[in-house]
């Protein structure tokens, strides 16, 4: 069933608990983001695009898989907007769909090396799969 962008924006706000209206557009979140260079849509843009209900492009963004959950954007936001929670909520909107997991269990053996800690696999599964 098709879900409108407006409905998805509502879900994102509900899942994240973020109030996008608090943002004063200073850009510190993107300035602090260590993954900025590998993102096509940056943290401050997530905030304004959710606010505008412009969700379609966010669902396709490679930034969903490059956010490191390092919480630099959360720590350095002067308005406590928590952009990382928004990115997480969009990622969940994607992977909670049937068959839309970004990482599949059968891919894991090929990604392992002798030293890879279990923590990496547990983290990646929590972030990339449902």
């Amino acid at each position: 069933m098709q879900v409108s962008e407006r409905e998805m924006a509502k879900s994102i706000l509900r899942i994240s608990g973020v109030d996008t209206k608090k943002c004063m557009k200073c850009g510190k979140c993107s300035g602090a983001c260590p993954a900025f260079g590998s993102m096509d849509i940056h943290p401050h843009q997530f905030v304004s695009m959710v606010e505008e209900g412009n969700i379609g492009a966010l669902l396709e963004s490679k930034s969903l898989w490059n956010c490191l959950s390092c919480f630099a954007c959360v720590e350095r936001c002067p308005r406590n907007v928590e952009p990382a929670r928004l990115i997480e909520a969009v990622r969940l909107i994607v992977i909670r769909r049937q068959g839309a997991n970004h990482l599949k269990p059968e891919e894991i053996p090929g990604l392992l090396d002798a030293d890879l800690p279990q923590q990496a696999i547990a983290s990646a599964f929590r972030k990339y799969s449902k």
């Binding site: 490059n66 490191l68 919480f71 959360v74 969940l92 990604l111 890879l116 800690p117």
Partner: protein
């Protein structure tokens, strides 16, 4: 609400005093497998310092990343089970892995401050008494600073690491978000540098010590991780570091893998056990000396 009050100079938090030397300990998945050194050295060092670590029986993996979604409770249950176990023993929950500490501390904060999450988790788990975040979560570093004390630790050091220039790598998860983690100043932390000093070594302060190593992205995008680790390692080397210490198995993996072994990377507990000349403990051996 958690009650903190002064009791003859001692601070009481919930049921557990800050100077109690007995802790309930949550090791986590990686400390039983790839990061055994982090765990065994912590146990032997604790023994040398008079601290008792009783492992949570039947603990479950914390999930390694904090569930930011406010509509999920399943991903919070493992943390709450461990927290309740410590609470029933009237002890603080001691953590060691940065990721476990981050997840459990933040889930505990949710249980304390978010009425909706608290109600759903308690409705699901049906405990005899509602759990509302009463247990104190203490990272091993905090235990060294606040319970043992770095001055006391210094007195117990038998093999000081004199002259060694050691860089502390904090990464993300111990420090941020500081409003919840409250471990140290998120931009200018000192707890690991103080530990390094108490072991007789010289701390090296460098700009990238609280920048991300790339974390779990390592599993599919090593180019991004390699660049971030290079920045961290170059920064530490430039400031004269001879070794780097961390509390996180994934940070250690990323730094080692991308550092081409130019700069040795250790768990902080490895150097601590060495400085204390703490011997082998049950379940593992310590490479002391």
């Amino acid at each position: 609400m958690r009650k903190c009050l002064k009791d003859g100079g001692r601070i009481r938090c919930g049921q557990h005093r800050i100077d109690d030397m007995e802790f309930c300990y949550y090791p986590g998945c990686t400390l039983k497998t790839k990061a055994k050194d982090l765990d065994t050295c912590a146990r032997s060092a604790a023994q040398a310092l008079g601290v008792t670590m009783t492992e949570v029986p039947d603990w479950q993996c914390c999930g390694a990343v904090y569930p930011m979604a406010r509509d999920e409770i399943a991903t919070r249950l493992a943390s709450v089970r461990a927290l309740r176990c410590a609470g029933e023993r009237r002890q603080s929950l001691l953590t060691l892995c940065s990721a476990c500490h981050h997840v459990i501390k933040r889930v505990n904060h949710d249980m304390h401050t978010d009425a909706d999450i608290r109600a759903k988790v308690n409705n699901y788990m049906r405990p005899d008494t509602e759990y509302a975040g009463e247990t104190r979560v203490v990272h091993y570093l905090e235990m060294l600073r606040d319970t043992v004390g770095f001055d006391e630790l210094r007195k117990k050091v038998k093999a000081p690491l004199t002259g060694k220039k050691i860089a502390a790598y904090y990464g993300c998860l111990l420090l941020r978000p500081s409003a919840v983690m409250q471990l140290d100043d998120p931009e200018n932390p000192t707890i690991m540098e103080d530990l390094i000093r108490s072991m007789g070594a010289q701390p090296v302060v460098y700009p990238y010590r609280n920048e991300c190593c790339g974390g779990y992205i390592t599993i599919e995008n090593n180019a991004v991780v390699a660049e971030m680790c290079k920045n961290i390692l170059d920064s530490a080397v430039e400031k004269g570091a001879e070794a780097i210490i961390t509390a996180c198995p994934l940070c250690l993996y990323n730094l080692k893998k991308n550092g081409k072994h130019a700069l040795p990377v250790y768990y902080f507990t490895e150097l601590l056990a060495q400085a204390l000349e703490a011997g082998a403990v049950e379940g593992g051996t310590v490479r002391a000396g």
